[in-house]
Chain length 396, copies 2
């Protein structure tokens, strides 16, 4: 009960809703008591504990405009508790540290060709990047309380930190702890599409409660948020949008099936159709930036390739809408950066094909987070857990 | 708290799990206390209330085999509380009354061509059938405590008992109460695929917790059960399997889109391909029985039509598995009666196309309830509500 009340008080100070923007006016203890429906004495005891645990700080006086005795302003601490997010992509490594307000304080990103390298090598480099990011965070007075790693692969619903399969990295049955240099800092892996979707939910200006978040990188994943909760499926495999059969008799996919969406809207397919790749290889360090640049310059093969990819994506999303009936769809990951050229054809397909239920073009929108979504979600996941249970923080 | 304890005690007497088969040995008050972890005095008070509300009856002595003083056997009442289920199909009306054990005690089914008749006419006939069924139930000592109506259409997530759209009936925006003769017996509408799925979950010998239940009748619907709960989607439109685009450039569907599953695996399509329908019309009173008879007799066009339908269905179910990652798939409704001929090609498609996650052919199975599923689920829904909150029953 006290655990829950600690969470309620911390949430009231942080502001309504998930990781919402700071209030225009900070609250005092009395203000919090008024909002959460507990006595002032109870709230004061809870606030004392939250200050002791480093979650809240109390300023000198509350801000202007109040009638009566001014209370002292409570704010969520921007020092102390923090979450580390890591991100292993096919062409990069990323790290992010957020403070308890959910604000990113450290960003790291290095381009690195990770496909088909030994998992141990990639994970050792990720660990080094993580150590750098934690050191930078420490210099800001932040202490990392939890570590989550975004991976472009399937993480089954089971303990043990195992990645079942990350086809675009060439990983199979990789247990993070087996390769991580420091046993005290082993991160918990999670599918990057899932973390991108959670980041969207936690950070969107106007989040809907039930949505499908498409998270394109080298492959195409998706995540389902249902009533504000991530839905991972019976075994952790939900949201494999990239392997929906959009053209049943179509080309063979790396997964072994035919006509999968990834063969029509995946990065390799788009680059090939745009004439920017030979034999599945592209020389650009950032192929997505290259696509955006060519499309922006009016390069017709690129424009046509993106339009076709949008059509295939619209087909797959039609199936997602018919089955799941979401409030909305979000184009995340690299798709967010290509949204200008993808959206028209995706929306046209949805308009033509979603006929049984009401549907508006605006129900599909690009993510504001784009490629940063998964690593941000990974970092914020620790913060969300602390907000739900502040006793996870060491007592002061 | 007492409400919850009443439910726990009633559930313990009914046996573990949803509407499970009667125990081999009935429990006494002491047995129940031992199982639910409450004191004998508390359990006795709860049992008294449940007897007063007509939910439990207490026999003379518990059955054989116990050591020590024999207790009196408690059983869930087979008189008194009951649920009425109704079912409006394209070619029939159905009614079912179940007692508090979930056992069907009254079945009614009449063949009736309901498509494109005024909703008021059909609902008046359903009300007459309901009154007959309730009268028959009353003669058995049963009193109907709730009424649920299964419809082949979309029932939005909102109060008011409105059917948004039932395309195969030709209904649009029909509010049941506007057409029901007796304001005291207006049933609550629910999508028939949803009720079929719940019936499957409540009555299966070995139910899985997360599954997709395909419920074919004149159209093709599906319902998603996630962790034992029906998932209705953000607006109540989830599970529109019949309108997944399986052949994107394929034939035009009544919904306005192209290549919908219903055009390849729906009843009309199968009858046409089997050479059993002209201009979309078939003369048989029971077209599904006709298909089963022809297939059983080795009629090649029928066998081929069912195989093709199975292929299209396998394609759509591949998308469902990729997106939702269920433990299993169930073929319900009329598909259950045609399963012998559909299963091989559905399973072959799934085997070829579900490659990212482990999949076994047995994860797809036919429903044991078939066409009776929706009306049984409609009747049992009231019972499930009473089991969860016995104070819904009038106090004795």
């Amino acid at each position: 009960m006290r655990r829950r009340n600690l969470s309620v008080v911390l949430g009231a100070v942080a502001g309504h809703g998930p990781l919402s923007r700071p209030r225009s006016r900070a609250l005092s203890r009395a203000d919090v008591a008024g909002r959460v429906g507990l006595t002032r004495a109870a709230v004061s005891s809870l606030v004392d504990e939250l200050i002791g645990r480093g979650a809240l700080v109390e300023g000198e006086t509350a801000s202007e405009g109040r009638v009566g005795r001014p209370g002292r302003a409570l704010t969520v601490s921007d020092e102390g508790p923090a979450g580390l997010g890591l991100d292993i992509g096919v062409t990069h490594l990323g790290a992010c540290v957020v403070d308890l307000r959910g604000e990113p304080r450290v960003w790291r990103r290095v381009e690195r060709a990770n496909a088909d390298r030994p998992a141990g090598q990639v994970l050792a480099e990720a660990a080094a990047l993580a150590a750098d990011a934690e050191a930078e965070a420490a210099a800001l007075g932040l202490r990392v309380d939890g570590r989550v790693l975004a991976v472009p692969g399937v993480v089954p619903n089971e303990p043990g930190g195992r990645i079942e399969r990350a086809p675009n990295l060439g990983w199979h049955a990789v247990r993070i702890a087996d390769h991580w240099p420091d046993p005290d800092t082993v991160p918990e892996p999670e599918n990057e599409a899932n973390l991108g979707a959670l980041a969207e939910y936690w950070n969107a200006e106007q989040a809907v409660e039930t949505f499908v978040h498409v998270s394109a990188g080298a492959g195409i994943g998706a995540a389902l948020v249902i009533d504000g909760q991530l839905f991972r499926g019976a075994r952790g495999f939900a949201g494999e949008l990239g392997h929906l059969p959009v053209h049943p008799e179509g080309v063979r996919c790396a997964c072994g099936a035919r006509g999968c969406l990834e063969q029509y809207a995946g990065q390799v397919a788009v680059l090939r159709e745009a004439g920017l790749a030979q034999h599945g290889r592209v020389r650009a360090a950032d192929p997505v930036a290259l696509l955006a640049e060519r499309a922006g310059a009016g390069h017709l093969p690129t424009l046509r390739a993106l339009e076709d990819a949008g059509r295939a994506l619209g087909l797959a999303l039609t199936s997602a809408v018919a089955l799941i009936d979401p409030d909305g769809l979000v184009l995340g990951g690299t798709y967010a950066e290509l949204a200008e050229w993808l959206l028209p054809s995706v929306r046209a397909e949805l308009a033509d094909r979603v006929t049984v239920r009401p549907w508006t073009p605006e129900a599909l929108r690009p993510s504001a987070l784009g490629r940063r979504g998964p690593v941000l979600g990974a970092a914020q996941r620790t913060i969300r857990r602390i907000m739900a249970d502040p006793t996870l923080l060491p007592a002061g």
